[in-house]
């Protein structure tokens, strides 16, 4: 089609050339000289280019091609003012990208179901009485056996195993699952078979395991003959019977187990047994609804079953109640906060985009004001208003769509990065948020919307333009000498924006400062120059006495390593996710039910030397010792908060409290307070009990080096500790053995994320206020150029010019900034929940905020000020 048109236009050009030639020849025959004849022929013909143009117009798809012309013009305009174009592109691209990224995450985590066949039929059980969706195993078994609405019901739990394959033992996260788990999932095996009901019929029914595709791929080298091979899981031989398909990642969105084993073998695997206990909520559960059953019917039946269970087992303390929730986010435990958080962020991103649009709108309006004369001329020579409006809109859309393309690119990078990112925990967590093609459409839609929004802003100006007026007075349709301009909406908008920006900047700087403080805070222990090694002896077949002996042997061996000044082990360490608590009762208490307790204290089983190894200050009394055994009286070392709460004084040594089973425990030592669960918590009570009185197979080994040892020495020591354990028993899977500081990643994670997020928002807020201020300032100067030139001509000084041109602006800026800082100080109180010691009353913080705002302000008005100062009245007044 286009090709044919090209030919047609070439024909026309040729035809016109021949026509002129013929006319010239005719004239020559009539006696003219050749050059004159040619000139006369050309003159008679008029403007061939114009003629060609109007002849071509006949053939054009009228609307479309003039839009193409508009787009070309828009691109030319952008090339002519690259500063404006880049600012606009950048602001808008970031605004759109923020929305697309947030939407992408929202879509992946909340909107899209877990990737399973007929995913709408799959639900998980949540609890109405508590957010965490744990149930006791017999309850889930009752539902499985009694209900008629589910085609499959499966309890499952995520656990760590020591897996020995090809002579190497690794710590692997696996899933212990009921026999109907894969029926709920509804997937087909990639290799071999999946676990079935028979595998889970009774303890020891089968020693079969299924590998997850990623583990098969990475840990087993994608061995195609894997089926039938034997591995050892916690020392027990298991046969790999199959591999799950590639896209399957379990029924939770955050946690990806590498291995599936029957839950019936729970006791032999874990060394504990909760399969018959109705008071031990340990398992999650997933269900698949039958084809014709509605969620409401299923819920009704669940309620009936719950009532029956309560009737049959009235002695149970916990009345478990069920609620069907969409799978993937641990019931509502993660689901509702994730939804709330993402909705909040989405709203924020929307506001950011709107602010970006408002800014671009004012920039656009400023440009339109500069182009008032051009527009007036176009109107005067007969261009219709709609044509001009269309051109302005096309310009806006071109910018918006280019920005959308950049945003798409940015979002793609960000989302892919997020999908490959692992949170700093030892749990097998990751985000399945691969960018979806539908996001491109989403981006396009947002871009067009944004373009229309900000492109529509200068339209009022265009509709108001009266060609006569504009031609007469040029760029300054209304002279405002002496007359005070009314406060316009855009002044308020700008002030609000500056205030908002000030809030984000304050928040960002506050959290940055908080983070830097947190990095040097007193946590009650010193993670520097220490190696923390964690292993689970149960995974290597140890229990009770043998575990204890092994721990002692490891301790002796690592104590002899060069450079080690102290070493100890504990059941767990502060600021790890594992924080068991102990109900503490006063010595007088008789009724030992949870509600009557004095308080719950964090409980750590520790070996002698723990306080030296952790560098926790022992304030009074003694350390625990290896003579505090199961046969000797119970003792504990408590922290000051514990003593303060129970005895209302620091004089705790020698006094007693009662534990959950009513046994008296003597306090033998007092240590300093610390942080146990989060960095921002208030002082919490903690008790350190002798590990021999509280034996455990889960082991956290702390090995402390000399103060002057380097980070390299620490990682060297970590290797040595690992080797020492391997030398003692190569079957013990070491989960982690690194510097203690690096394992506190998760504790610092929230404040780090907050700092990064707030930093980004702060930077973006700054960018927005720069463009906003710049837009309004250049609009003001541009609009009043004529007035300002008259002032200059009449001898106004530089300060007077600036005051006249931008005085109003500066008031707006200053008041916005003051309001923003007050708000910022107020909001930083909220921050203190996430970021340690977040306070805006810090002079350093306030100074930084003020400095940032002043810099930003001057940066953004610098251009317009220069323009105002450079006014040469002669040039301007002559021009107009």
């Amino acid at each position: 089609m286009l090709f044919r048109r090209r030919k047609r236009f070439d024909d026309l050009t040729e035809e016109i050339r021949l026509h002129i030639e013929e006319r010239a020849e005719q004239l020559m025959r009539e006696g003219m000289r050749p050059t004159e004849a040619r000139e006369a022929a050309h003159r008679a013909f008029g403007n061939p280019a114009l003629l060609e143009e109007s002849s071509r117009e006949v053939w054009q798809w009228p609307a479309l091609e003039s839009v193409v012309a508009d787009v070309r013009l828009a691109l030319r305009q952008m090339r002519r003012s690259p500063g404006f174009a880049l600012t606009a592109l950048f602001t808008l691209a970031l605004g759109i990208a923020a929305n697309v990224i947030v939407f992408g995450v929202l879509q992946a985590l909340v909107l899209r179901p877990v990737e399973l066949p007929q995913a709408d039929r799959v639900m998980t059980l949540g609890r109405t009485d508590q957010p965490y969706p744990f149930f006791s195993y017999p309850v889930v078994r009752d539902i499985r056996d009694d209900s008629k609405v589910f085609s499959a019901v499966a309890p499952y739990l995520i656990s760590n195993f020591g897996v020995e394959a090809n002579g190497v033992t690794r710590a692997v996260w696996g899933c212990e699952m009921g026999g109907q788990y894969f029926e709920v999932a509804g997937i087909k095996p990639f290799l071999g078979r999946l676990l079935q009901r028979a595998d889970d019929d009774h303890p020891g029914a089968s020693q079969a395991a299924v590998l997850a595709w990623p583990a098969w791929k990475s840990d087993f080298g994608a061995d195609p003959n894997i089926v039938g091979k034997t591995i050892r899981i916690n020392k027990h031989p298991y046969t790999i019977v199959g591999v799950t398909p590639e896209g399957f990642y379990g029924t939770e969105k955050f946690i990806q187990p590498s291995l599936f084993v029957p839950i019936a073998n729970e006791e032999s695997l874990e060394g504990t047994n909760f399969l018959e206990s109705r008071n031990d909520p340990e398992v999650y559960s997933v269900v698949r609804l039958k084809e014709d059953v509605t969620v409401a019917q299923a819920q009704a039946e669940l309620n009936t079953i719950a009532a029956r269970i309560h009737r049959q087992h009235p002695e149970d303390a916990e009345k478990e109640s069920f609620q069907l929730v969409r799978p993937g986010l641990m019931g509502d435990f993660l689901g509702s906060p994730a939804r709330a958080f993402l909705a909040g962020v989405m709203g924020l991103a929307g506001i950011v985009l709107l602010a970006a649009c408002a800014n671009l709108g004012s920039l656009f309006a400023a440009r339109t004001a500069d182009r008032a004369r051009e527009i007036a001329i176009r109107m005067a020579i007969g261009s219709s208003r709609s044509r001009i409006v269309r051109q302005v809109l096309v310009e806006a859309l071109v910018i918006a769509i280019l920005a959308g393309a950049c945003a798409c690119f940015l979002a793609w990078i960000a989302i892919t990065g997020l999908a490959n990112w692992r949170p700093p925990t030892e749990y097998p967590m990751s985000f399945h948020i691969l960018p979806q093609p539908s996001l491109i459409l989403m981006t396009l839609a947002i871009s067009i919307l944004a373009g229309v929004v900000f492109g529509a802003m200068p339209l009022r100006q265009i509709f108001k333009t009266d060609p006569n007026e504009a031609m007469k007075s040029g760029n300054a349709p209304a002279l405002m000498l002496g007359r005070r301009r009314r406060w316009a909406l855009r002044d308020l908008l700008l002030a609000a924006q500056i205030a908002l920006c000030c809030v984000t900047v304050t928040a960002a700087i506050v959290s940055l400062r908080g983070l830097s403080k947190a990095l040097s805070m007193d946590m009650g222990f010193n993670p520097k120059h220490a190696v923390l090694t964690r292993f689970e002896l149960n995974e290597a077949g140890y229990a009770g006495e043998s575990a204890e002996q092994f721990q002692r042997r490891v301790l002796e061996k690592v104590s002899q390593l060069p450079g080690v000044v102290a070493a100890a082990y504990a059941s767990s360490t502060p600021l790890s996710l594992n924080a068991p608590t102990l109900d503490v009762f006063s010595q007088q208490a008789n009724n030992l039910k949870s509600p009557n307790r004095a308080f719950a204290a964090y409980e750590y089983g520790v070996s002698p030397g723990y306080f030296a190894a952790a560098e926790t200050t022992l304030l009074a009394g003694r350390d625990v010792s290896f003579h505090d055994t199961g046969k000797s009286p119970l003792v504990a070392v408590v922290n000051r908060e514990f003593a303060r709460r129970l005895f209302h004084s620091d004089a705790a040594v020698g006094r007693y409290f009662k534990n959950e089973s009513g046994q008296p425990v003597q306090v033998v030592g007092l240590v300093a307070d610390g942080k146990y669960l989060t960095l921002t918590e208030d002082p919490e009570p903690a008790a350190f009990v002798p590990i021999l009185q509280n034996p455990t197979t889960g082991t956290s080994l702390i090995v402390r080096q000399r103060q002057d040892s380097s980070i390299a020495a620490t990682s060297e020591l970590a290797g040595a500790v690992r080797k020492a354990i391997r030398d003692l028993d190569s079957a013990v899977p070491v989960r982690e053995s690194t510097g203690w500081s690096s394992q506190l990643g998760l504790a610092f994670f929230a404040s780090q994320v907050a700092t990064v997020a707030l930093g980004l928002f702060g930077a973006f807020g700054l960018l927005l206020s720069v463009t906003g201020t710049f837009g309004l300032a250049s609009y003001t100067v541009g609009k009043r150029l004529r007035e300002l030139s008259i002032r200059v001509a009449l001898g106004a000084q530089a300060e007077q010019i600036i005051a006249a041109a931008l005085g109003r602006m500066l008031i707006v800026l200053a008041s916005g900034a003051v309001v923003g800082m007050l708000l910022g100080v107020a909001t930083s109180r909220v921050l203190s929940a996430i970021v340690y010691h977040a306070s805006a009353q810090d002079p350093l913080v306030l100074g930084a905020v003020v400095l940032t705002m002043v810099l930003t302000g001057s940066l953004s008005v610098a251009g317009p000020v220069r323009r105002a100062l450079r006014i040469d009245p002669a040039v301007l007044l002559r021009e107009q």
Binding site: D11, L12, E15, H19, E22, F45, G46, L51, S55, E57
Partner: protein, 116 residues
Amino acid sequence: MKETAPRDLFPGALEMMILESLRRQPAHGYALVQHIQQRSRNLLQVEEGSLYPALQRLLKGKLVKADWGVSSNNRRVRTYQITASGLRHLEQQISSFERMFEGIALVLTPSKSSAT
């Protein structure tokens, strides 16, 4: 440009004259200008600026077709030829033009208008 006829007499007039000229015999652009000028005894002078866009409109409407050829005086020319639908269109136009002309004449004739 010298004394020029009004750019277009009324919408469609130029097209009608072109079609009528082409009905008599196919011609190229230059010849059309000459032809219309002669036939109107120099009363009408067709501007190239109107002729070529008009020809393009006719081409687009498939009322004429154009072919490259050689003229009688051995020049390379693009000759326009009326098509069947061009003929039909011309007849319609002429009859409606005649009716319109009659109407205008009736209105403009002074004796009749004052008699009533």
